[in-house]
Assembly symmetry: C2
Homo-oligomer: 349 residues x 2
């Protein structure tokens, strides 16, 4: 592959002048500039980004370490991050942590070894050693979606509290009183916050959230299935299951169907994170939608600010409730009662 030296020879100039011409430096004569362009053209020269990075100490690359690419929410996030980054002249290298702290650390160190200019992370846990080290070392960093308390890094996320309140109001209005949640890992902020928000919203209606109605999930479909089975095995199973992410909702749907039960007639279902497929599931799933695109954009902008040495502000955007049919219809018989407990239902087929 042709190097800048070849271009210099071809153009009859020094590498210094070629470099200046290529970088739009003002003190290059139009004639020289033309000769450089011609030489570049004939040689098909492309600057070696590796060499450039070594010299300038900038790679114009951002690292994005994501909890789970197979989760459509994160896929969309990754997409919007790449879009915004590209608009700002950056490339993005994605690392998929698969909800595993060790994999997360692997990607963080690999990315730092590659000397990316900045790091976008949605942490899988409370802070793996590699990531904390990166934060301390002063790598420009921004947390997105999830964050780690106590680490001084801007956070771009959405606040689901209001939407969860809306959801609980919706459920309460439909007559549901026994509400359960499938939580995410306690090590993640989103895992904890969603449970807290749910409990708080229930409290406003004088409803409690007993331990048996909190399922421990890990944001993966399989855990949603298991948690739901446990709910269904209870003497008094919940009337509603709220899954803290879309994959666990998918698992819940699996479990319900496996027992021959129907949503929402036998049990209602709602999820955090809205995705296109929820429109077409049977039934369409009521969900809390995050402004994913905006989150990705804001995160990149904050990170680029950090890279430029400026503050880079934290951003919190509101999520909103999208009502579909998985919790039942208002005024539907058997669910419209307010005071009396919901009709008896089979706990197992």
């Amino acid at each position: 592959m042709a190097s800048i030296k070849d271009v210099a020879v071809e153009a009859g100039l020094s590498v210094a002048t070629v470099s200046r011409a290529l970088n739009g430096h003002p003190s290059v004569s139009p004639a020289a500039r033309r000769r450089v362009e011609a030489a570049v053209e004939t040689l098909g020269y492309r600057p070696n980004a590796v060499a450039r990075s070594l010299r300038t100490d900038r790679t114009r690359t951002l690292g994005l370490v994501i909890s789970d690419v197979m989760n459509p929410y994160f896929t969309e996030l990754a997409r919007s991050v790449e879009e915004e980054a590209r608009a700002l002249g950056y490339s993005v290298v994605i690392g998929n942590a698969d909800e595993r702290p060790d994999l997360q650390d692997h990607h963080v160190t690999t990315l730092l070894d590659r000397r990316i200019d900045g790091l976008l992370v949605s942490p899988t846990d409370g802070g793996s050693p590699g990531m904390l080290a990166a934060a301390r070392a002063g790598t420009p960093m921004v947390f997105v979606d999830r964050w780690i308390p106590g680490v001084d890094v801007p956070v771009v996320r959405s606040d689901g509290r209001a939407a969860v309140r809306d959801l609980v109001a919706h459920l309460h209005g439909l007559g549901h009183r026994r509400l359960a949640i499938i939580a995410g890992p306690a090590a993640t902020t989103t895992g904890r916050e969603r449970v807290d928000a749910f409990r708080e919203a229930l409290g406003a209606y004088g409803l409690a959230l007993p331990g048996t109605y909190i399922g421990q999930g890990d944001f993966q479909a399989e855990s949603g299935r298991r948690a739901t089975e446990r709910f269904l095995d209870l003497d008094e199973p919940p009337e509603v299951v709220f899954a803290a992410d879309n994959l666990m909702a998918l698992g819940a749907l699996d479990a319900v169907r496996a027992r021959g039960l129907r949503v929402p007639e036998d049990i209602a279902l709602a999820a955090f994170d809205d995705i296109p497929w929820f429109v077409h599931t049977d039934p369409p799933v009521t969900a809390i939608a995050q402004p994913t695109r905006d989150l990705g954009r804001a995160a990149v902008r904050a990170l680029v600010e950090r890279i430029a040495g400026r503050a880079g502000e934290s951003v919190t955007l509101p999520a909103r409730l999208v009502v579909r049919r998985s919790c039942g219809k208002p005024g539907k018989p058997g669910n419209s009662s307010i005071e009396s407990p919901s009709p008896v239902r089979r706990s197992t087929p």
Copy 2:
């Protein structure tokens, strides 16, 4: 950040010895090795991959240019590619072409500028200039899923012919005779092949595939919706719509539902590419499943072979039919007739 020079000073050795110790070169005394390890530890040294790449001309990075990350099929492909690459000591940089040739070219050139060791591509079109140039320039390359005829590059893909035959047999067995397809872009191999396979399979039953029953799609949901609407507007609408990918199937489902029609009672639906959500849509969608994980693995292995200067073989794996409920049930009244045309249905509500 500490450099190898700092380590050398700290250990009281030359950079050459440090480098050799770090790379496991045999001619380093145990004593020196220990001192290097200690110095690395105290300084928290990590080798600069940029400098290393400049010198060795290897980045241990693969580029993956994908047609559309938001498509679950490609997401899964990307995941398996990354997994296998990681196992072989490579990182993967993903570029999302979003089915746009210009974006595809942007990513290819960016990746080449970064001097990735090899390129995995599922081309969006018949060959954008940048990609053809890369292939000619001798960049180790492998096509995955889709390929470009006439370009001498190994291809890792799956063959859907048999599965499409099975699908048509299944549909024919259910009594369907008017079968339509939503095709992908003619510029892609998968776009053409799936139509060809479908037509061929129909031919075996003496059925034709009229032009009006071929919808032009672009592998995106919206195009599936439009094509389906056009089908439904026909005087004699098809009894079955076969979408050449999962996103267009989603769009088709949209369109059918928007008219108040039901699947499979009013119109049957099948799709190429199986995804987890198809189990939970209403109704569950009959689909042709590719061995995505295996494809990703095989593609990486072929590429690494190429990088090592060896041939790198093309691989073709079979796809298989997964029957669900979106085409109707065997023996279902109204669909079991063989000779008589299917029952009259509303073309518009």
